[in-house]
Amino acid sequence: MPEMKKLYEIGNRPREIFLSPDGETPTRRSRVPFTRRHWLKWRSRYNPKSLKLEKRLEDKKPLWWMLSLGLLLLVTPFLGNSALTVASIFCMFAAINVLWTLIIGTAGIFSLATLAVVGVSGYAAAAFNVYLGVPWPFMFVIGCLTGLVAGGVLALPSTRLDGLYFALLTLGIVEICRVFVQQLKSLGATNGSINQVDSFIPSDWFLQREGLLLGFFGAFALLLGALLLFKLVNSERLGMLLQTARDEEAFAEAIGIDYRRARLMVFMISSAGLGIIGAFYAMYYRSISPSIFSLDQLLLLFAMIVIGGIGRADGAVLGTAIVVLIDKGLLDLGPVRILIVAAIMLLVTLLTNNGLVGAREQFRNYRNRKKSEARARRTEKGGEVMPEEATDMPDKQEIFYRRFNKRLRDELKLLITPELIEEHRRKPLGRHSDALSRVLNYFRRSEMPDKYAILRQPENFNHYKIVALSGERGAPPRLVDDRLYESIDEAYHAVFLLRVNDLLES
């Protein structure tokens, strides 16, 4: 008698809020302008337990975005000046990281020249403003164009170089930019900086409360813009194309997706966006210095997206928030901050698969794995169904079939004797003993998938091999083994032996 497993009660109360649509009045779905997307993904389903119609928000991310960004927008104006600055820096860095995520995640190009693009564009915009007197609103245009050109130049080698080599190359370019700016004679006096840049913040508000507030709102708008760009690129056509290519490049190419071109497009679009951020950066500080090209800044940014999770906008923003809070919010701690960031980064890389935003998915996978392990411990293959398994079986009759067949097999196993096998060998078809009839009838009634059949060989009427049927219309059977049987009775008996073997192993 096998050990009886304890049977646990199952069942949960719903933890979500549902709406109940009624069919008497129309539901009006509205869309995000210029797209075919709905604002929110409300979807209905019949609850499988009650069959009641439930309408639930299937994608809750927009809700979290609204809550967190709304909170930021509402609370920040009431914070002190230093906190206001931290919030603005957060917005700017988050915007940079969101676009960087497009490059690394969506386009799959491992570029470390993100800050270089921001810097080059910032310098260009500032130079046009300071030396050529271009008014500040045009700085965005200049930043954008510079970003585009810089992106184009960087993109060229990306098709020739793979992963790590391209990353090293971009790191080199960052360094070249820094050295170039620092050694420019004309900027020698300011140690490579361009100062006195005009800005959207009036000069008499600069470093005043009003100026800081305006700066924050500007940075917030910048972040919103970056998120919108991310959404437009990542979730629309370009992103879809690249999604396909990521799974299977050769397949994507075969069905006519030019994924290289799509990658370059994403790279260029993101670089143009980074250019705008560069211009904004120069305006926000009213100056730009070579520190933007510094390696520590770059690595800090890198820490942000690693902590948050590469490839997702929410990851970029969350990672930025954490690192900026520590780096800029806890200035009193001094150099320990850097150690804390490094420790968090280490922990995140050690413990999670894809940053903090991937933790939920990871947890679910972990729970599912544990669940299957527990089920594997508690049930045997083809044995009694446990209450927790029954929830996954919509046709409850299957559960009884499992019980019945398990008990039937246990009985039939006792009937398998050498005499019974010999009886079948002597006469595979026709009238049999009661025991053999029972065993055969069980074999014959089994389900179609993987059911044995005999394949007559074309060269000889009495040559046979054994196959297993697919059970699926149009899908051919598979050869069980290559053995050739030279009479039909031999083949029938070979199938019988295979089935006896399957029975005894079950």
Binding site: T27, L429, R456
Partner: protein, 769 residues
């Protein structure tokens, strides 16, 4: 596996000498193949018999013919006869339909619409892969859609109305649950209740489609370079009354439409009344438009008519309540006509011997036989062999061994398949038999000869039992008739159905094939009248005259049967759906309609099993002088047919029994019976009222095959050996065996005019023993 694939069919399947037969051939991997006309004499390659025997026939067919790949349109759907293109280019519209989805699948399914898949133009209403109802529009560049709130529950009736207003771009989709106590899989106790009503502004306007794109029910137009125009997005399920308005209709109008109240409101473009056209003789493929424009729909691949509709309330047939039978069932794997181009025609010479012929095609290491049956221009012989062509169609391309989990339990065999089988099944483009289920689980009720049929290939063995079945099995009797030197004509079920008794009248004796299972009323009447008029029948099969079968007079290629209530049935028609759409008759077993086969040939189905056949043993009646001449040359206790190509005996596979209660004539002599069947021969279900154990061959006396003889008026008679395996015992031992001896004794007597031997022994029995 060979790289060349050869498939073909002949149209018609059976014809008179002097008529023309068309061969439709599709070949992949070769431009030309060798062709040769052959007469088929024996099919079964079993070394215990004569093996495969064919005779090459000189004919006008060239030795080499050029061939091409031909495509098959599978799936049933209906095409609008919209010559004025009133349904194309609609800017504002309403599409409405009652529908009953039977299978949500991974592809989109169109219920109705004017939609071009490749150009993404037009409009369509259907189900998306998740089972939501969707209305989609396309302008050639962009497609937009509105999707219902709820998913459709399979096998439940719904009403859907989709409106679109071209000026505002607003679309609405309203799905109304129509489940009542009768019409669906589930009843009103299930709380799947709520309707769905969605409104949304769409970004695309529907564009006018190209000229070849047609408005369709249950499918949509697609074109590609290799195949040309064809139909995809096939729908599985029933569609009831439906239609199109040229405007977005108002809410209260939708309510009325959902209740089936139709006022021909303004802007009505088409209103298809699926219940229009029923007569007591059934209904055709045309779905009538009762609106102002009369844009009728024409069914392709026989959408199944006579099905219960959304308002069905339990009536047994469309003949009782036609308005409740608006259901038209569409299947994505239905096939009644491959519609291939004719590759080659043969004018059959007037003097060609009656026989089973085939066009033998060879190429690239592959061979195919395209069979056809030739009947003499005018009856020549005294013997007619009635080939059960209805049975050939009923089993055409059956999938039992591959798809029916119980098939191995029925046959008690492990199936034996061959490479050709896999080639046929690979693309699944040659349709199903009446033993198979469509992809949505519904039984297949139509079978046609206008498609390649592997189970009619001469060497083919039915995988589930590993012996020939139907036509290849009947070739054993043809071989024996040739061997024994009898002159015979072939006629077919189709001839008997079309011509009635006059097809049999010219013959002294008519022989049935191994399995004359599918009979129409015309065939029953003709056989009965022939016997009553002095005709002589040798019923040499099992499970004959069983299913009520019908066909349309002008479309003999396609038979219809509804498996019903009782009998050995591969499927069971849904309640109310048991009447033949092509004749208006109740289908099911002839026995259930008062015409058990015993009433005509004395025997009827009693058991089947495929593991092992047994011999017949003489019964006392075989020693009565009325019939003892049949056993001339046989010993008193000689086992009759302890050999055979089907299970090793003459009595087996499917067995028929003498039963006075079911109509066996009272003066019938029970000549012989078989004994010793295994429990894999259970008593058939139509004999089982209460179920109790012990109905198998080792315990139930009704499990046996009988051999009987009785006389009919005007010197007529029936000799019957109720076993499918009978004729397949004939070729054993070189064709000289005791089964053949009995056949000769009976045939020799039956072909003679006048009184039958033994007919004088009708006196009272005054016995001393």
């Amino acid at each position: 596996m060979a790289n060349t694939r050869i498939f073909g069919y002949s149209d018609p399947l059976c014809l008179k000498a002097g008529e023309t037969v068309d061969f439709k051939v599709s070949v992949e991997g070769a431009r030309t193949v060798n062709a040769q006309l052959v007469r088929l004499i024996h099919g079964d390659e079993n070394p215990l018999g004569p093996g495969f025997v064919e005779e090459e026939i000189r004919s006008s067919i060239p030795a080499e013919i050029s061939v091409k790949r031909q495509f098959t349109q599978i799936g049933s759907f209906a095409i609008a006869d919209d010559e004025e293109r009133k349904l194309d280019g609609l800017q504002s519209f309403t599409l409405f339909a009652h529908f009953f989805a039977t299978r949500i699948k991974a592809e989109r399914q169109q219920i109705m619409g004017q939609w071009c898949v490749d150009e993404q133009k037009g409009y369509g209403l259907g189900l998306d892969p998740s089972g939501h109802v969707s209305l989609w529009l396309g302008n050639g560049g962009k497609v937009d859609q509105i999707v219902s709130e709820t998913r459709v529950v399979e096998r439940c009736w719904y009403f859907v109305a989709a409106t679109y207003d071209g000026t505002s771009g607003r679309a609405s989709l309203r799905l109304i649950n129509c489940v009542n106590s009768w019409n669906s899989r589930i009843s009103t106790v299930v709380p799947f209740g709520l309707d769905s009503w969605i409104e949304e502004k769409l970004a695309t306007k529907p564009a006018r489609t190209a000229g070849h794109v047609r408005f369709m029910l249950a499918g949509a137009s697609e074109t590609n370079a290799q195949r040309g125009p064809h139909t995809t997005l096939l729908f599985n399920g029933k569609i009831d009354r439906c239609g199109v308005f040229g405007r977005a209709v108002a809410t209260d109008e939708i309510g009325a439409l959902s209740r089936g109240e139709m006022k021909s409101g303004d802007g009505l473009v088409a209103h298809w009344d699926t219940t229009a056209g029923y007569t007591d003789k059934g209904i055709g493929d045309t779905i009538q438009d009762i609106g102002p424009n009369a844009i009728h729909l024409e069914g392709v691949n026989r959408p199944v008519r006579g099905m219960t509709g959304f308002n069905w309330r339990g009536a047994d047939s469309f003949r009782l309540a036609p308005r409740e039978f608006g259901g038209v069932h569409f299947h994505d794997d239905a096939l009644t006509d491959s519609n291939w181009d004719t590759t080659l025609s043969l004018d059959v010479p007037d003097d060609l011997k009656s026989g089973v012929y085939a066009l033998r095609l060879d190429g690239g290491g592959t061979q195919d036989y395209v069979p056809f049956i030739v009947r003499p221009k005018r009856p020549k012989a005294k013997i007619a062999f009635l080939l059960p062509t209805f049975t050939y169609l009923a089993y055409a391309n059956e999938h039992l061994a591959y798809e029916a989990p119980i098939a191995q339990a029925i046959t008690a065999h492990t199936p034996v398949i061959v490479a050709e089988d896999l080639e046929y099944k690979k693309l699944e483009e040659f349709g199903l038999s009446t033993y198979d289920h469509h992809t949505d689980g519904a039984g297949c009720c139509y079978s046609s000869w206008r498609r390649p049929i592997i189970s009619m290939r001469p060497k083919y063995r039915m995988p589930a039992m590993n012996f020939p079945w139907a036509l290849p099995a009947d070739l054993s009797l043809i071989w024996w008739l040739e061997h024994a030197g009898y002159d015979y004509d072939l006629i077919t079920d189709h001839d008997l159905h079309a011509e009635g008794k006059s097809a049999l009248d010219p013959y002294k004796v008519v022989l049935n094939g191994t399995h004359p299972e599918y009979y129409s009323e015309e065939m029953m009447d003709a056989t009965e009248a022939y016997l009553a008029d002095g005709g002589r029948v040798m019923y040499l099969g099992g499970n004959g005259y069983y299913w009520v079968t019908g066909l349309r007079a002008d479309e003999p290629h396609c038979i219809e049967v509804r498996k019903l209530d009782t009998g050995s049935r591969a499927w069971q028609a849904e309640p109310g759906e048991g009447y033949l759409a092509c004749t208006g008759e109740r289908s099911g077993l002839w026995r259930s309609r008062g015409r058990a086969p015993q009433k005509i040939v004395g025997l009827g189905f009693t058991a089947e099993g495929m593991d092992e056949s047994q011999p017949f043993e003489r019964m006392p009646d075989s020693f009565h002088k009325r019939a003892s001449w049949i056993f001339e040359g046989l010993g008193e206790r000689e086992l009759i047919g302890d050999f055979g190509l089907a299970g090793g005996g003459a009595a087996g596979i499917e067995l028929d029994r003498y039963e006075q209660g079911l109509g066996t004539p009272p003066h019938t002599l029970l000549l012989a019976s078989s004994w010793g069947h295994s429990d894999n021969y259970p008593l058939v279900s139509e004999e089982v009222t209460y179920a109790f154990p012990g109905r198998g061959g080792t315990q139930d006396a009704q499990v046996r095959g009988d051999m009987i003889y009785f006389t009919t008026p005007n010197n007529g008679a029936v000799f019957a050996s109720g076993s499918i395996a009978w004729s397949q015992a004939l070729p054993c031992h070189g064709g000289e065996n005791n089964v053949g001896r009995i056949m000769r004794n009976v045939l020799n007597a039956f072909i003679r005019d006048g009184a039958l031997p033994g007919s004088e022994f009708t006196g009272e029995e005054k016995l001393w023993r």
